[in-house]
């Protein structure tokens, strides 16, 4: 008897331990994933800069300082071979090995400096410019031998420093990993999400109100209910196929535009909002409705003046979670062509754009070593946004949701 009880208690402990083990293992996965991403990506937010003694008067840039004060200065700079001029100066200062030291990011920085101060063209000056990706990777301890050597040389001359990579937050996609940034993709994501929100929120809320407050129980409403519940579980790539067939091939809307992305994601998010909305409306107690009806409000007035405001926090929570999901969605957007190389941020919802998750996917496909840390850094940015949105949802839930 004693032995049996001991055995049963041991089984109890084992079971309990198995549960604890499962939870801790899941947490461990989460921690491992987050730590890996942070560890790999944190370097992407910093970049190395090297000092170059620039001698622009002697370079063959053919830029006129007077013209740089004119209105088409940025075009002139874009056309000039700044990269060549920088590399020439770098080769003079650090030997022939420096021919890979600077890339597009340095040219862009110099161009900006020239716009601010055109006198750089007329004098010798020493500037800190961001180094090319291969040198950057080497300086962070993961490069090839030739680059490591150059880094050592630069360090011995005190001509290398680490700075925060503002360009990563303000630039867009580029071919050179040292010059890429997330701004274009972030703007695309923002426009897409706004389109999604504007379409999915009102439609979702109205549908939830109808189904919960007005719909009679009959076959039609059953069909609507089943199709909404099913749509919430349909694979997202199917929505991408729908968007491709209907919005692009049938309606001929512009490819890879936030408008089409937003429409597709709206169809995907709407069922989530409907389900959240129905739950929120259901949790408003009937006494509220009865009281309003009792003082003579019409059914519409009851819903729009009393039930909806009380259900709104719950609906908003569901909406934000749905939006966060839409923000992280990649597959349907690949289907509608949002995988092009877009080097400038979109100006409107009909212009070609990229979104952050797709940008991450595209960068993850690149072979250059510099792309690895930039991809992880972009993932950190995306995760921060998701965290902020989910945090907002939790805050709203705790702050405004009432338990009746």
């Amino acid at each position: 008897m004693q032995a049996l009880v001991r055995k049963r208690y041991a089984a109890e402990r084992r079971f309990r331990f198995a549960g604890l083990f499962a939870v801790s293992l899941s947490m461990l996965f989460l921690a491992f994933l987050l730590i890996t991403m942070t560890y790999r990506g944190i370097g992407g937010f910093t970049q190395f800069e090297a000092a170059v003694p620039l001698d622009l008067p002697k370079s063959d840039l053919f830029l006129d300082p007077a013209a740089l004060r004119g209105s088409d200065a940025s075009q002139l700079i874009a056309r000039a071979d700044l990269e060549g001029a920088i590399l020439k100066s770098a080769a003079q200062a650090y030997g022939p090995a420096a021919d890979r030291m600077f890339g597009a990011s340095a040219a862009r920085r110099l161009g900006r400096n020239l716009l601010e101060d055109s006198s750089l063209l007329e004098r010798r000056a020493s500037l800190w410019l961001p180094v090319s990706s291969s040198i950057d990777v080497a300086a962070k301890g993961d490069g090839d031998a030739a680059s490591e050597q150059l880094v050592a040389q630069l360090k011995s001359k005190d001509a290398l420093r680490r700075t925060f990579n503002f360009d990563f937050l303000t630039a867009s996609d580029a071919t050179d990993p040292s010059a890429i940034g997330v701004w274009g993709a972030l703007k695309g994501s923002f426009l897409t999400i706004v389109v999604t929100m504007v379409l999915a929120f009102p439609i979702g809320v109205l549908a939830a109100i109808y189904l919960e407050e007005f719909a009679a129980r009959n076959r039609w409403t059953d069909v609507i209910e089943v199709s909404i519940n099913n749509l919430a579980a349909v694979p997202s790539i199917i929505f991408g196929l729908l968007g491709l067939a209907v919005f692009l091939n049938f309606l001929h809307l512009p490819r890879s535009a936030p408008l089409v992305g937003g429409l597709t994601l709206a169809l995907m998010t709407m069922p989530v909002i409907v389900i959240a909305g129905r739950n929120a409306i259901k949790s408003v107690p009937p006494s509220i409705r009865d009281a309003a009806l009792g003082v003579g409000a019409s059914k519409m007035q009851v819903v729009f003046h009393h039930v909806l405001p009380l259900a709104l926090p719950g609906i908003l929570t569901g909406t934000i979670i749905g939006m966060a999901r839409a923000l992280g969605e990649t597959a349907p957007l690949l289907m509608i062509g949002m995988r092009a190389f877009i080097a400038s941020p979109p100006g409107g919802i009909t212009e070609p754009a990229s979104v952050l998750p797709v940008q991450i996917f595209l960068w993850s496909d690149e072979v250059g070593r510099g792309f690895v840390e930039k991809t992880s850094a972009a993932i950190i940015v995306l995760l921060l946004f998701m965290l902020a949105m989910n945090g907002l949802a939790i805050y709203l839930r705790n702050r405004f949701e009432r338990r009746w």
């Binding site: 049963r8 208690y9 089984a11 109890e12 079971f15 309990r16 549960g19 604890l20 083990f21 499962a22 939870v23 293992l25 899941s26 947490m27 989460l30 994933l33 890996t36 991403m37 790999r40 009102p202 979702g204 109205l206 549908a207 109808y210 007005f214 609507i224 089943v226 199709s227 519940n229 099913n230 749509l231 579980a233 349909v234 694979p235 997202s236 790539i237 199917i238 929505f239 196929l241 491709l244 067939a245 091939n249 709407m270 019409s298 519409m300 966060a324 992280g328 969605e329 597959a331 289907m335 998750p357 797709v358 996917f361 993850s364 690895v372 993932i379 995306l382 998701m386 965290l387 939790i394």
Partner: protein, 460 residues
């Protein structure tokens, strides 16, 4: 631009009409009349009357205007000189349109430059016509609505009828979306099945669509047997991922609901939900960069020489991790729905907590858990980014978890993101795959939703 102008005009008229309706009703009330509806309803009634017909007209007009402009341009003297060949003419037309809109300076075809002014003229003419008609409609409707304001007029009833129509329309969109999915997938799939027989597609074991790109490659029409894809999908999503997710998810749910201190639970549960909130592209990158090399090394260490760096195991493992919170929350709901009396009865008989859970709570919650698992499977086989980034492209029919298999979703992405000729069997095959995937997930979802609902009703 012109559309924006028309919208702005209609909205301005709507505002004025709304204000007129509102103030007329208020004046009537100030004059001592007893209104049936509040003045705001009279105002809203006018706004609805102005906005809805004009918007409907504009929605219908925009596509009509495009083709009218095209016809006008083609019938102009310059347009008649264009080649009859449809595709070339369309290319010139679209270039001319872009020049006329200022999107580009010089066309690839010289004709488009001469055609651009015609475009501008025609567009100006028809857009002015469109704006004029929509403004007329709006004005007419405004006059009609504002004149109807009277104490006895039941504006509220009318407005509420409009609102009701809006509510019904909103909820019909869900059906329309489902219909749209089915129809668009069916339509393209039928075109595909005209090129490739259904039986070859469903029961073939060879998948190599790449050879079908060029029609002139004699003898290689491509093989579209989808069995290896569905096996790969099933292997990764329904076997490997579930082996990871079901025990971990279920045990997590049991621990969190039955054992954990409430304070611990309030912290751990949101943490677990973070796992569900992480975008799949992040999981995919994690799988490809960290898990896949580790799995390959493990395979090589175990002496499996065919271990691939795009193994099914890596993708399945990460997908399982992604599914854990999903299963856990479904199991959580089902366990919470088991009546306390059943638990109390078991505990009163002297059973330990774990015995109660294993022999009473879990069997009682089983339908709900099974429904949750089915939903999880449906989500796993439709999951795209993890397998696109971590699983391979080779269509192997193998049960070796260290080998590379491909999935339906990977192939859909692969087929649709290369070159885009819309009529090739290669592109259409993606829609056929999508259709089968949709049907499978539909059946899984329907079974799961029915099971879960039946189960909930059983204890309510």
């Amino acid at each position: 631009m012109t559309l924006g102008l028309a919208l702005a005009a209609v909205l301005a008229i709507a505002c004025v009409a709304g204000w007129l309706g509102f103030s007329r009703a208020r004046a009537a009330r100030a004059g001592g009349a007893k209104l049936h509806s509040l003045p705001t309803y009279h105002g809203s009634y006018a706004v609805l009357w102005v906005v809805l017909p004009a918007l409907l007209f504009l929605a219908a007009w925009v596509p009509v205007q495009g083709s009218l402009v095209d016809q006008a341009v083609l019938s102009s003297p310059e347009g008649l000189k264009l080649p009859d060949f449809d595709m070339q003419r369309d290319a010139i037309l679209s270039e001319a349109r872009e020049i006329a809109h200022g999107d580009r300076d010089v066309g690839f075809n010289p004709e488009s430059t001469t055609l651009a002014p015609r475009f501008e003229e025609a567009e100006a003419r028809y857009s002015v016509a469109g704006i004029a008609v929509s403004v007329l409609i709006a004005l007419g409707a405004a006059a009609f609505a504002v004149r109807r304001v009277s104490p006895a007029f039941r504006a509220r009833t009318s407005v509420e009828r409009w609102l009701m129509a809006l509510l019904i329309a909103a909820s019909l969109i869900a059906i329309l979306t489902t219909l749209g999915i089915v129809l668009s997938l069916m339509f393209e799939s039928l075109r595909f099945f005209r090129m490739v027989p259904v039986t070859d597609f469903l029961f073939g074991t060879q998948w190599s669509p790449q050879t079908a790109i060029r029609a002139d490659q004699a003898g290689s029409s491509g093989a579209f047997g989808s069995i290896p894809l569905f096996w790969g999908t099933f292997f990764i999503g329904a076997i490997i991922a579930m082996i990871v997710a079901i025990p971990l998810g279920l045990m997590s749910a049991i621990y969190l609901t039955q054992y954990a201190h409430p304070r611990v639970r309030t912290w751990l549960k949101p943490m677990l939900e973070i796992l569900a909130g992480i975008p799949t592209v992040v999981y995919g990158y994690f799988a490809a960069l960290t898990v896949a090399p580790a799995v390959r090394d493990l395979g090589l260490a175990l002496g499996i020489s065919s271990a691939s760096s795009e193994s099914a195991l890596a993708a399945g493992l990460v997908m399982g991790i992604m599914i854990i919170p999903f299963i856990s929350s479904m199991a959580d709901d089902s366990i919470a729905a088991v009546p306390q009396a059943m638990r109390d009865g078991s505990l009163a008989m002297g059973a330990t907590k774990s015995e109660t859970i294993r022999k009473v709570v879990l069997p009682a919650a089983l339908p709900g858990v099974v429904g949750g698992v089915l939903l999880a499977v449906s989500r796993a086989i439709g999951e795209t980014m993890i397998v696109v980034m971590a699983a391979g492209l080779a269509a192997n029919l193998t049960a070796n978890p260290f080998a590379s298999v491909t999935t339906v979703t990977t192939q859909i992405v692969q087929l649709l993101t290369g070159d885009q000729e819309f009529d090739s069997a290669k592109t259409l095959a993606a829609f056929a795959l999508g259709l089968v995937l949709f049907l499978i997930t539909l059946v899984l979802n329907l079974i799961a939703l029915t099971v879960v609902r039946k189960y909930r009703e059983a204890y309510e």
